[in-house]
């Protein structure tokens, strides 16, 4: 089954890199949606079927931690699998991300880092 993916990052280059890496990973990727901040991401989630959300932390308007909280609070998105992809290096903040149920991938990442995180969060055997 193809994975429909939402990539949320305020950098268009980083979104393109993530999509390129996903497509190189051997995973079956279906539709890919882009959002530049948390508010745009929520709009996509309200209107499209998304299996996996990849989320940056530092973004304008609504940051990644606020977006994760909103995803968890909304009945329509509460079970969504999420991966945070960020330069964040603060242990307490990374712990906060993991406590929300999201995987964490640190920038810069290798294709293997991202592929393995997707498999873990989707429950696919490595």
């Amino acid at each position: 089954m193809s994975l429909n993916v939402l990539v949320t990052d305020d950098s268009a280059v980083m979104r393109a890199m993530i999509v390129k890496t996903l497509r190189m990973s051997g995973l079956d990727i279906g539709e890919v949606w882009h959002a530049g901040n948390g508010v745009e991401a929520l709009a996509v989630l309200e209107s499209q079927w998304v299996d996996l959300a990849l989320v940056d932390i530092n973004m304008p308007v609504m940051n990644g931690l606020e977006l994760l909280a909103e995803i968890g609070n909304r009945p329509s998105t509460a079970g969504l699998r999420t991966i945070v992809i960020s330069t964040e290096g603060s242990d307490p903040r990374i712990a906060q991300v993991r406590a929300s149920g999201a995987e964490f991938v640190h920038k810069p990442f290798t294709p293997e880092d991202l592929r393995d995180a997707v498999k873990r969060v989707m429950g696919v055997a490595a």
Partner: protein
């Protein structure tokens, strides 16, 4: 060389290798040294320490930066500038826990283009330079705000 210089060098080299697929050279040749500036980006950090990380790319490498990151797509000028901004952001983000500690929380502001290097702090706390390709160069500077 200060501890911050060594740390900045390590973070910069890792970022250039992993994100941009460059092999940064510690020894800068005369040709690389004379390279003209393509663009400069700055990311401000705020937390237990405040200041900025500035990345200056030289030698006409901006399109190669973007194509290496995006995969054979040079992108337009905005995408190329965004590529340099993202590199600056990643270097700054990775540097913060190494100089501020893993428990420290920093806020990184959005990358901003720099026309002239910050006049208020003409001497960076740390400066590293790497040769890139045959005739390119990257300079990375760490500034702390005056206390």
């Amino acid at each position: 060389m200060t501890d911050h210089t060594a740390t900045l060098g390590d973070v910069t080299a890792l970022t250039l290798e992993t994100l941009c697929f460059f092999c940064p050279e510690v020894e800068v040749s005369e040709l690389q040294d004379a390279a003209t500036v393509d663009g400069t980006m700055s990311v401000r950090f705020e937390g237990p320490l405040t200041g900025r990380v500035v990345v200056r790319l030289c030698g006409g490498l901006l399109p190669l930066f973007a194509s290496n990151m995006l995969g054979d797509v040079d992108g337009d000028y905005h995408m190329q500038r965004d590529a340099l901004a993202e590199v600056t952001n990643v270097i700054c983000g990775n540097l913060m826990p190494l100089i501020g500690g893993a428990e420290a929380a920093f806020v990184l502001r959005a990358p901003q283009p720099v026309i002239d290097l910050p006049g208020a702090a003409p001497h960076p706390t740390a400066l590293v330079r790497f040769g890139l390709e045959e005739s390119g160069r990257v300079d990375v500077m760490l500034y702390f705000d005056p206390t």
